[in-house]
Symmetry: C2
Subunit: 194 residues, 2 copies
């Protein structure tokens, strides 16, 4: 009774509730939905998804329909409950936690003096290649969303996340250009001994 006994730090909880708030679906459906929408800023794997589904069901935040079909692969469709919706709304109104980022490329560059200039240049070029196409794709998707803004109030919020990606990817690419120029202009001796 009273307040919820359910976890508060597990973001997968709220991703599941947010998706189910839109429409009922299976864990596999969620994974696909996540892939094309939010995976760019918060990815969720099956290893986090399925255990959290079980936990949320045990806590009465979601219910499982569609039972075990003999001879066919199982498929469990989940729906959100009123308690689940309440939990989701409470989370949405709390302040967002600080951003987490982990850039291995910056880690390697920070210690880059130990290896030759070529290795560092190659790392930056690989980084640039990872995002050169992505930026254009996002921009195209953003255009679509802008045209369909009137269709649903949700579209405006989707657009906000897409614009975020556009700006950040563009910053990535600008950095890569500048970094390559800096490395090429400064003829470092290279870190390799004979």
């Amino acid at each position: 009774m009273g307040v919820c006994p359910v976890a508060i730090d597990n973001r997968t909880v709220y991703i599941i509730l947010g998706l189910l708030n839109h429409e009922p679906m299976s864990g596999y459906d969620m994974k696909k939905r996540i892939e094309v929408s939010i995976s760019q800023f918060w990815d969720v794997g099956f290893g986090q998804l399925y255990p959290t589904l079980k936990k949320l069901e045990a806590d009465g935040m979601i219910v499982r329909a569609g039972e075990h079909h003999p001879g066919r692969p199982d498929r469990y469709v989940y729906s959100i409950t009123d308690r689940g919706r309440q939990l989701l709304r409470r989370w949405l109104e709390e302040p967002a936690s600080k951003e987490y980022v982990r850039y291995e490329i910056l880690l390697k560059l920070f210690f880059g003096g130990l290896v030759g200039r070529e290795a560092n240049i190659a790392a930056i070029e690989a980084f640039r290649a990872r995002y050169s196409g992505a930026a254009d794709l996002l921009a195209a998707y953003g255009e679509e969303l802008r045209l369909a803004l009137g269709d649903s109030p949700d579209h405006l919020y989707y657009l906000l996340t897409v614009i975020f990606g556009e700006k950040v990817y563009k910053a990535y690419l600008e950095w890569a250009e500048e970094a390559l120029k800096l490395l090429q202009s400064h003829q470092s001796s290279g870190g390799d001994q004979p």
Copy 2:
């Protein structure tokens, strides 16, 4: 013999080796050093630091000097070994893994249709506040580094990571401005029911 038996996925390993490659220090020293240099793109807590130090020592990648002083707090100073330097160099020459990011604010905005416009605006303003000062601080540090580029070959690599931060934080702030304008121009009904 032959290839290393040590973990390959644990980035804390390489952060420790990278720091010790510069000079010997204690775990506490590393934490402070990390805080002011690389924590912006890969933070490490004590909970990861101390166990990894033990593991690296057991594997002969680092050695512990400075023993237990009776009556004074312990202080263990670590140094890198040749095997450790080898491991560090091998990692540096491998391609960097994909970037990990987790933006809870984008998660909340993605599901933002469920709550009122004001909650979403407040979230974005809190985000902006987190980075408005940081961008200027980084820019100032970048200026310092540019002037001291000749002092050490490492400074160029430090500068690359600082420029990355400058660009990305600037992108954050630009996004926040645009997002606020978009939310204010589109008079959404707000998600609260009576």
